[in-house]
Symmetry: C2
DNA sequence: GGGATCATGTAACGCGTTACATGATTCT
DNA sequence: AGAATCATGTAACGCGTTACATGATCCC
């Protein structure tokens, strides 16, 4: 039961892109939240849109978020959610409680683990694909970080910027993707060379 | 339904520590497998012992692994499992199929994301704890890698070693934990400084 | 005209987590 | 004497995934 906290933390970050600062706490629709979970939040949590809609409904029932209807003419209507005081209190309690160890699940690593017993051809392709996806994310995160820190340099921003949480988690995501790219390329090269050596015999 | 593949890949690695090479494919008891999932395999998959016992039973029913009873006198009896040819075929098909993108879930990152809205005291403590756990893993992985490559240096081993899969995934784990340590220490320092600056006012 | 984007869900099923259950031996 | 290790599960519940459902605008 920790998706709720990921949702609360993501909601806090701020405006869903409509411009217009809503005063510290952000407002997101389910749809916008799902997008956030696809990009930045994906660095530390993964969830499908259906889950988010369901979770938002539950959080609203419990009073941890408040939704308001926004009628649109050219677009379907939507509901925007913001974190309530009770939601903040819940997050605070969560932050103080001990964390479960993080966990990872990665199909591609399972395949590499078994690389000595399976055909490595498709695995090499997937590693190269992974490297290029990582590269794209690196580019993206670079831009996102630049936008967040504005005109300050990183050190300055982290000392005096007013909202550093998302910046810090994004830094982690950046480092992760860089490692991802390096490792994928390295492993692809190793497996390619071993394939070549194998054919020679 | 991919835990099965993680289990198969983990079983392949080799002997469960009893000494005595069992000829290429390894043998593990559920208990030993659970330990492996706690250490090395935890780099790319996470599962609880109960899940492993259940999964082994299912895999056996489907003929992907074969179990044999080992009667012990001073210890409770145990069942050792090895991957069958059908199991290998299943793994091979898995390796060739496209991977789902990897995913992470990390409570601590959720807390850092919310760092601007919650009390950072406990979060800083948890970051420091995380850094020291990462340090311990770094030490451990260093030793494990050294053991696997024996007297060869890394480049040599990766070219000519006979089993490199587990080595490569362990390298990923090592890099991950190094990043983990660096990032945790950095973030703890940033949040500590901001706390201090906050108190001064 | 076709595909992407905006927008929100329902329903079924299965996997994963939490809690419980047992019991002998070895180490501190 | 108490804690840790070895060893294997069962049962209940809830979360997460897959598949399905709808429908209007915007862009190429």
């Amino acid at each position: 039961m920790a998706l709720r906290h990921a949702v609360l933390a993501a909601l806090l970050v701020g405006d869903g892109g409509d411009g217009g600062d809503s005063g510290g706490r952000g407002e997101y629709s389910g749809y916008q939240l799902a997008k956030a979970f696809d990009i930045g939040v994906a660095n530390f949590w993964h969830a499908l849109p259906q889950q988010l809609y369901a979770e938002l409904a539950k959080l609203e029932q419990e009073g941890l978020v408040a939704g308001r209807q926004v009628i649109q003419e050219t677009r379907p209507n939507k509901r925007l959610f913001r974190v309530t005081d009770a939601g903040l209190a819940e997050l605070d309690a969560f932050a103080a409680a001990s964390s479960k160890p993080s966990f990872i699940r990665d199909d591609l690593l399972v395949k590499v683990q078994a690389a000595d017993s399976v055909d490595t051809g498709p695995v090499i392709e997937q590693l190269e694909e992974r490297a290029s996806v990582a590269e794209a994310k690196i580019q993206l995160f670079g831009k996102v970080l630049g936008k967040m820190r504005g005109e300050l340099d990183e050190e300055e921003f982290l000392r005096r910027g007013e909202r550093v949480g998302p910046y810090l988690t994004c830094l982690r995501g950046l480092a992760l993707e860089q490692e991802n790219r390096e490792w994928s390329m390295r492993v692809a090269a190793v497996l390619r060379e071993r394939r070549a050596a194998h054919v020679e015999r």
